[in-house]
């Protein structure tokens, strides 16, 4: 087990993220294929996701170094993660049973989840753009785009809201709190 744990610990976190999503996708199809689990598949997936992380942490505990002093005391760096993993196993079993219980409510239907996800992705894009066009321009564009996507058509508000936001952040964060927000490569180049 220790050899496997050490091999696991040597992997990049990208590998874990990809493996996590692959397993979650497989579980989705598995839960969707069974009559009993289909109505609650997303609740089960949430739980399975947490259990996967728990399993990974448990396996990784075997690669943690244990000092003599810790071993003598009976409380090593492995102790707490293992204790929580064990408890997680117990409470997860209870949660699986509760979710699969007949009286449990089925999953909430998906509404405009693509839209919500796109806003989330947009915010990541906006953060990446901090380094290129700076915080102020990037956040202003993000606010305008989301406002338009949410159906806002009032031109005055579309202009005023991002401008006020930029002034507010500049005054409060830059001038009062001395937090230097990135101006970006574009403005550095212009300067």
């Amino acid at each position: 087990m220790e050899a496997f744990s050490k091999w696991l610990a040597g992997q990049s976190y990208f590998v874990f993220i990809i493996a996590f999503f692959v397993i979650m996708a497989a579980l989705y199809f598995l839960f969707n294929s069974m009559k009993r689990t289909r109505p609650v598949k997303c609740q089960l997936l949430c739980l399975a996701g947490m259990d996967l992380v728990t399993l990974l942490f448990f396996l990784l505990t075997f690669s943690l170094r244990v000092s003599k002093l810790a071993a003598e005391a009976g409380a090593t760096p492995r102790t707490m993660p293992r204790l929580w993993s064990l408890l997680m196993l117990l409470v997860s079993l209870g949660a699986y049973a509760a979710i699969l219980h007949k009286g449990n409510k089925p999953d909430e239907k998906f509404n405009r989840w693509v839209f919500a996800l796109l806003v989330g992705v947009g915010s990541i894009f906006s953060v990446i753009m901090f380094n290129y066009i700076g915080y102020y321009l990037s956040s202003a564009i993000f606010i305008v785009v989301v406002m338009i996507a949410m159906g806002e058509r009032n031109k005055l508000q579309l202009v005023l809201v991002p401008v006020c936001w930029c002034i507010f952040t500049y005054v409060v964060f830059y001038k009062l709190l001395f937090i230097k927000l990135p101006f970006g490569a574009l403005f550095s180049w212009l300067a």
Partner: protein, 502 residues
Amino acid sequence: MSTIFENLAMGFGTIANIQSVMFIFLGVVVGILGGAIPGISPSMAVALLLPITYALSPITAMVMLMGIYIGANYGGSITAVAINTPGTPSATVTAFDGYPMLKNGRAGEAMGISLWASTFGGLIGALVLIFFSVPLSKVALKFWPSEYFALCIMGLTTVATLGGKNWQKALVTCIFGLLLNTMGLDPTFGIKRFTFGVTKLFDGFEMVPVLIGLFALGEVLDNLEHYDPNKKVAREKVDYKLPKITYYWKLKWSIIRAGLLGCIIGIFPGAGGTIASFLAYDVEKRMSDHPETFGLGAPEGVAAAEASNSGSVGGAMVPLLTLGIPGSATAAVLLSALMIHNLNPGPKLFTEQPELVYGLFASMFIANVLMVLIGTYGARIWVRVGYIKKSILYPLIFAFAILGSYSIKKSMFDVGTCLAFGLIGWMFKKYKYPASPLVLGIVLGKLIETNYVQTLMVTGPIGFVQRPLTVILFVISIAAVAYPIIAGVLRNRKEAEEAARS
């Protein structure tokens, strides 16, 4: 007793300066604004404003955050009365009678009652906090690590089991939070755990991005999913003129009863303002000479709901300040705020930082008094806050969340953490996994581990059963987990019997 008053006077002295009062004022205004906007909970308001407090002194930061907490609890009642949409979950009960009062042309009365009941409920909570927490902190100073460990476990089980119908999910998120807390350097031996080669994870996750992600982004993403651009809030033209102060005298017993009840319920970890307001409303209805008027516009109903949820603020601060165990989701965020400012909540805080603790107590009185002024003169403005377009509000919350996460260490990694926990928070909200036990797990994890290891190193495993108090606390913890299981089995059996009979 005289020491308490002397210390309280010192607390008033600590915050008797323009800067502190200004920040309390700002906190109350922001809190009322946040509370009045449906979709912004007190915990979300405090989490969003947390990054701004970095540049402030610990006392100024804490009094401002306390002001937000107090203001938000009242703010929730404004839209509950005005548009039958509670701004915060704890204001749900206020809408039961507040909105019917508005429909009956008594909007001003309803607004006035909610304001004054909130204020007096908050003051009762502050008084109970002072007189409860000081002796409790003296007892807690004598705790051994094993007792602390047992206490933390008890706090966690109580919180997790109070997840209502979803208690199993609450337990899962709580344990998951504890597991996530083990990331980074182990607190005793300094061994790297689950850092995946990322140096930024050596200290574990930064708390603020986690909080902002779970409470703010998760909530906004969920709201965006249910957003309907064609849905418009109907505006009603009503008169919000508040009655004279003498009008509220007849409600004094309702307010005192509900304030005390709210405060007592608030002391129990996980109970919070929502449960307090439901219970206080029920008690008031049972004690009323005219229970049939409840739900149709009974002033006692509004008073009970508001006094109890504001009273719960003081109650929730008792375990937070004395034991370092938060009594509500907002208290969990406040706990993180204390830690961010290098303050260790718990009994030592009373001896090491008395000016902060008593300053915080004093700020609760000032915040409640300011709330009356702000509430009285700004009633019409606060009502309009509820009408702010979601198409403006949500992008701004998003931008604020990103900015708040970035500004802590100017780290893109923290922004990524915030977004990742935002997605987790969204999924949790959508599939009814309570997020606050996760935060409690993350916040209390280190304390639990440190005390566990200390107990083992000092006394060995026998230390967990050596002292009676430790055993009692463990028994309560087991009972807290066993109770919902047994109650669930009994309920199912009863339902099955009833179904068989019919």
